[in-house]
């Protein structure tokens, strides 16, 4: 009896999990489907789910109208560059806060996080003006810089949590064993921190890849990443659902692939420290 109840319980929760998963995934599925429809089918009512005229012409049009590779390359440079620079700044910062905390460490961490609580639009005008005056508008340098600063608090916060989990005893053991600070870093700390570094890197790459507010406002063409490429399909002449969907599918494809192969790291990164 108890056994039957358990198996029913498992079946129900499995079904519920799949349902929730499907609901979350549905918009993406719908987007991919729409990208293979004609513009007419794309906003047909009632919506056509699978039985429509499948076509790849949207992809062809998108390729014709804009340079996907140019934007994709920009996305890679902006997301990769901002993540790497953020890591370079964040590692020593998180390190010192995790291993030699002071009375103010908690305050510093909170203060860093508090910068993420302000809506970015609040500083759009001053930043735009600064960028204009320094000639940073529509430059890759400008975008790398702003995304790096924007994600820095999260990077530091994540690394801090990771470093905090490394037992102090192990570092002291290394010191007793005669390791200098640099050797301690190379032989003990880095190998132990690699999983944490990897998931921080991945998560921030994805965050930077998908960042739309600053990229849309600070770039037009030259430095424009894929977010701008997608947005260009919502034009004043009207929405072209099918083409917009094709552009979006192309834009998220690389990150979806990366995400798929690094699921385990990502999940670990997101739940790290939650459960000891």
């Amino acid at each position: 009896m108890a056994r039957m109840a358990t198996s029913r319980h498992v079946a129900v929760s499995t079904f519920a999990a799949w349902l929730v998963g499907f609901l979350i995934f549905f918009p993406i599925l719908w987007m991919v489907l729409a990208s293979f429809k004609t513009e007419l089918d794309a906003f047909a009512i009632p919506p056509k789910f699978l039985f429509f005229h499948w076509t790849t012409e949207n992809y062809a049009t998108v390729q014709e109208r804009s340079d996907y590779l140019h934007h994709a390359l920009n996305s890679i440079i902006v997301a990769g560059g901002s993540t790497l620079i953020a890591l370079l700044i964040a590692i020593p910062a998180a390190w010192s806060m995790a291993f030699s905390p002071t009375k103010r460490t908690k305050d510093v961490l909170l203060w860093m996080l508090s910068t993420k609580m302000m809506p970015p639009v609040g500083v759009l005008v001053p930043i735009y003006l600064i960028y204009r005056d320094f000639g940073l508008l529509d430059t890759l340098t400008g975008l790398v810089f702003i995304l790096c600063l924007g994600n820095l608090p999260i990077v530091i916060w994540m690394l801090f949590t990771y470093f905090k989990e490394i037992p102090k005893d192990i570092l002291e053991a290394a010191r007793m064993d005669g390791a200098t600070i640099s050797r301690e870093l190379v032989y003990v700390l880095t190998p132990m921190a690699v999983p944490g570094l990897a998931s921080t890197l991945l998560l921030n790459f994805i965050l930077a890849w998908n960042e739309a507010f600053w990229t849309l406002n600070l770039s037009t063409l030259q430095a424009a990443p894929l977010t701008v490429f997608i947005a260009s399909y919502s034009s004043p002449e009207g929405l072209f659902w099918a083409k917009l969907s094709a552009a979006s599918t192309l834009a998220i494809a690389p990150i979806l692939v990366i995400g798929w192969f690094s699921q385990r790291q990502l999940v670990r990164g997101l739940t790290f420290g939650a459960v000891k």
């Binding site: 192990i170 002291e172 007793m176 005669g178 390791a179 003990v188």
Partner: protein, 334 residues
């Protein structure tokens, strides 16, 4: 060589004095145990010797050389941590070899030394395993292996057995003692367990509130405790303390009698009392006796004793093994 001398060593964290001036002389090759209740400063004192904390005052001499400004690695000591502190990403071999690798020894020599250390500790079959694939006792042995392979001037042990279960603890206790005797290396061992202290030590340092209460051999501490604290801390079950009129009769503020020095009788002379609890262990019998105005007394009888709760007994102290203390708690000796 491994002669360690502390001269008025002090340590404070902000306004809090953790170590209030410790003087100590540890001779080469001896096994010294720091024992005391938690928060007494024993681990801090060990970390000061290791160099993991800086002293606030005083000198630490190793083989006559003041090392207070010498970094931990250069002091020639090795340490075994309570948490083992093994490098999780390295194999047992890598863990044991790490210190030698840092010292820049040639590979062949490292291998030879690691194999020898592993053989001493019965770790040879596990050399290529990761720490997570080992049991608690094996991990502890790896930590010890890491310490011995460097042939240090002294071993520092920070409660190394407290994470092991009781049976394994007794076994490891023996192994550590045997190994230390075999290598003849000075060892300082921190524990809160007075049984560990009594069984392992050549000499015991009893610490309380950042001060050294007494330094002596286990039997010295047992037979001639310097004060009430040491008398109460060393020995199990705890020494009975009696104050008031009974103590006055012996010319002291407080007298102490160990449970094993109380004679138990059904009639005759002694302090009368009723047994509250009788514990029969076979080898020993422990009686917890309510002796009225004198208080609760613990008595120990070697062997079995046919008494149970509620029985009336008379307890008389062995006059030759009575401890007398003055008002400040200091031991009075004739």
């Amino acid at each position: 060589m491994g002669q360690i001398t502390l001269q008025n060593v002090q340590k404070s964290f902000g306004p809090v004095d953790i170590i209030k001036g410790a003087d100590l002389d540890i001779s080469d090759g001896s096994f010294v145990v720091f024992v005391g209740p938690s928060g007494c400063g024993k681990t801090t004192l060990l970390r000061l010797i290791a160099g993991l904390e800086d002293v606030s005052g005083g000198n630490i001499l190793i083989d006559g050389k003041n090392v207070v400004d010498v970094p931990p690695a250069k002091r020639g000591l090795s340490m075994v941590f309570q948490s083992y502190a093994l490098y999780p990403h390295m194999s047992v071999r890598g863990n044991i070899a790490f210190g030698l690798k840092m010292a820049g020894l040639p590979k062949a020599e490292i291998n030879r030394k690691v194999e020898a250390a592993a053989a001493t500790l019965n770790l040879t079959p596990y050399l290529d395993r990761k720490p997570r694939e080992l049991s608690g006792g094996q991990r502890q042995r790896v930590a010890i292996g890491r310490a011995i392979v460097r042939e240090p001037k002294a071993f520092l042990f920070d409660e190394p057995l407290s994470n092991l279960d009781a049976a394994l603890r007794v076994q490891m206790r023996l192994e550590v003692t045997r190994l230390q005797k075999q290598l003849g290396t000075t060892a300082i061992y921190v524990t809160h367990d007075q049984v560990e202290a009594m069984t392992m030590a050549d000499k015991i340092v009893v610490l309380n509130g950042g001060k050294i209460e007494q330094y002596g051999t286990p039997l010295e501490l047992y037979e001639k405790p310097a004060n009430l604290f040491v008398a109460g801390f060393i020995g199990s079950p705890k020494m009975n303390f009696i104050s008031g009129e009974v103590a006055g009769r012996h010319g002291a503020a407080t007298i102490g009698v160990r449970p094993e020095h109380l004679k138990i009788a059904r009639d005759g002379e002694g302090w009368p009392g009723n047994i509250m609890v009788a514990e029969h262990l076979g080898s020993d019998t422990f009686l917890y006796v309510d002796a009225g105005a004198i208080g609760t007394l613990t008595a120990r009888h070697v062997g079995e004793l046919d008494l149970s709760a509620g029985d009336r007994v008379l307890l008389s102290p062995d006059p030759g093994r009575l401890h007398r203390f003055d008002e400040s708690g200091k031991s009075l000796r004739a």
